[in-house]
Symmetry: C2
Subunit: 385 residues, 2 copies
């Protein structure tokens, strides 16, 4: 059965002090419906990806809450897997279509983070980690700093090379009107930014953000009758690993990402080199360096170096990673990220990404990770022209 994306939309990402979660959800849902040529009454179910609403705002049951906006009280549910909540919500939405249970559904990713006190946010994010790591006082910047140290030592990589990830993503973000940060930065800016968890500096880290993104997916065998540029979902793969770093075989590769992407490649017959555009879960600069290796785009140990050399930069590279600006520059409202990636790939494959358009984009990949790699979700999308 063919599963198609009919369209999608994101809100602006950033510090949206004046917009409520309900307004964010409404804007993303109705933006996606309009972009898809679908009426709210045609939506048969709603899948919501969100991590922190219960923890930070004491609001659970977001499926029912946002189904109210559709006005028709369709089946609705929330799916959670830390920062991979959006990707996992999509995985369940796709399964429901393939099962023949629903024909057209909305998948919404949403997070409202900035209304809360910063210690509450830091603690809330650690809900993605393990007891052992929390008891040891670890935070996610701290955990990824350990990964960065191991990677730099093993592959003789400099902090400047890691900084290249943020430089690329800020350049891409400068071309995205929805991005939280739309200014270019230099390696020198990154190097001189405040230390967060050595060797990671402020500009190695994705921000705290508000935002929502939604897509409409359908099992309609003739999606072109609804929208003239449907995008097909070729693969939706999930894999997990231990929550704690200390249980892992390696610090310099995420097994969940390798497993999920290999499964996606195997099932579709697509090779990493077939892909023109990828949205990568760059919660920290080191994360994208390792991801391009785990996904098979770069040789082991070459990720940061390749990124710094422009291998994945718009107009220069063969595979463009994070044309949206990624988590670093576009922003990282955690539950929204996995769906924003899909909206970005959809726009790229449709050729409507404006200044950040990747040329000849036919195959795209979205890489969404929860925790420090405890769960990974890979989607492969193809333009259906």
């Amino acid at each position: 059965m063919k599963i198609s994306i009919l369209g999608g939309a994101t809100t602006k990402f950033g510090e949206l002090w004046n917009i409520s979660p309900r307004d964010l959800a409404r804007e993303a849902i109705f933006g996606a419906l309009a972009n898809s040529n679908i009426k709210s009454t045609q939506v048969e179910a709603l899948f919501v990806g969100n991590m922190l609403s219960g923890i930070l705002a004491n609001q659970a049951n977001l499926g029912s809450l946002f189904a109210e906006e559709l006005g028709s009280f369709v089946p609705a549910m929330r799916v959670e897997g830390a920062c991979a909540s959006g990707g996992l919500a999509l995985h369940n939405g796709i399964n429901a279509l393939k099962a023949g249970v629903y024909k057209t559904v909305v998948v919404l990713g949403i997070e409202k983070m900035t209304d809360h006190e910063s210690n509450a946010i830091t603690n809330g994010l650690m809900a993605a980690g393990s007891d052992e790591e929390r008891m040891a006082g670890a935070t996610f910047p701290g955990l990824y700093a350990l990964i960065a140290r191991a990677y730099m030592q093993k592959y003789n990589v400099t902090e400047e090379a890691l900084a290249g990830v943020s430089v690329k993503n800020h350049f891409h973000g400068s071309l995205n009107p929805k991005a939280q940060f739309q200014r270019v930065i230099t390696v020198d800016n990154v190097m001189k930014s405040a230390k967060i968890a050595d060797p990671l500096k402020l500009l190695d880290c994705s921000p705290i953000s508000d935002g929502a993104a939604a897509i409409v997916i359908t099992s309609d065998p003739n999606p072109r009758a609804i929208h003239n540029k449907p995008v097909e979902i070729l693969a939706s793969e999930v894999a997990t690993d231990s929550l704690s770093l200390h249980e892992r075989e390696s610090f310099v590769s995420l097994k969940s990402v390798v497993k999920a992407s290999q499964n996606a490649y195997k099932k579709t017959g697509i090779k990493a080199t077939d892909i023109q555009v990828a949205e990568i879960h760059d919660c920290f600069s080191i994360a994208e360096a390792i991801a391009v290796e785990d996904l098979g785009f770069s040789e082991k140990g070459m990720g940061a170096k390749d990124i710094s050399k422009g291998k994945y930069t718009l107009t220069k590279g063969k595979i463009i990673t994070n044309p949206s600006g990624g988590l670093k520059a576009c922003g990282h409202p955690v539950g929204a990220t996995g769906i924003k990636q899909i909206v970005e790939i959809t726009e790229q494959l449709r050729g409507v990404a404006g200044k950040r358009q990747v040329k000849n984009a036919e195959l795209g990949l979205a890489h969404n990770v929860g925790g420090s790699g405890a769960v990974a979700v890979i989607h492969i999308l193809q333009n259906n022209l």
Copy 2:
């Protein structure tokens, strides 16, 4: 495609101060695997129903956390819809099987509530409600008290008649070794118990509980080759309604329950009167009184009266509701409840429910509700002899 339950297990429900969430999950998962004749290496994915772990214990990402116990890092995710989280996790598990994505999966429901301070628990549970209700100071006993008042007034029902729900469920719980409360109570006991939210008294309310329940479901076309008493899942239906009571057309009927159950009946050709055993979401006595009406077991306004007269009591009734003791007597670890209901119906349909066995049980129904009716999940199960 036929979806079968191969087996299931629950932990003891109650105040389990000495057992961690990880231990609860492990006991339920490995109990379910043993009961199903399935090895952990045969499990292809894990779906976890849980509401409060993030809010109360700052632990999210429970899919990955409990997938560790299986040892094989399968795809895993958490599904949440307040007290219907268990039923919704099962809905997504079933969809994944029907989609052909996985063949055999575990669905786990789990909640650890008693480790936390009572105000934190009360506040956490209100995460299932709406902003408006929270700001008005409402709690779930308060909301259900409003429903009870409207129901009693409209249908001329006494507090004693409502008390009959708890009396029945405690009688059933007295026969269930896993139940939190295994003692019989009288109408007089209920009437003399402390007022919680007039007209609801302590013994009209389900307790705060710890517990876990798990089942193994499969799309294997020949489940009997694995377990000699597979149970077939005939329907899995979800519907939503507004979070807030003030948006509802009626206080004395839950539209989500009516819609989901009518869809389940329509799709299977089964009538309410065909069913011998049902697990009902009796978070409060009034909830079961209304549920038996919304499900089509009783005439409108007759639910509490019918229950008090023994229409749903073991050995006396034609349809037995809550043979497990229900939420009231078996306990209500919120994320676990929807899966415990399925374990109970499975045991009933297999004829292995011991002292609480319903005679000639061939068709069973599970009714799982989130919030004050914002979401409802209905499953219909059949013994496959």
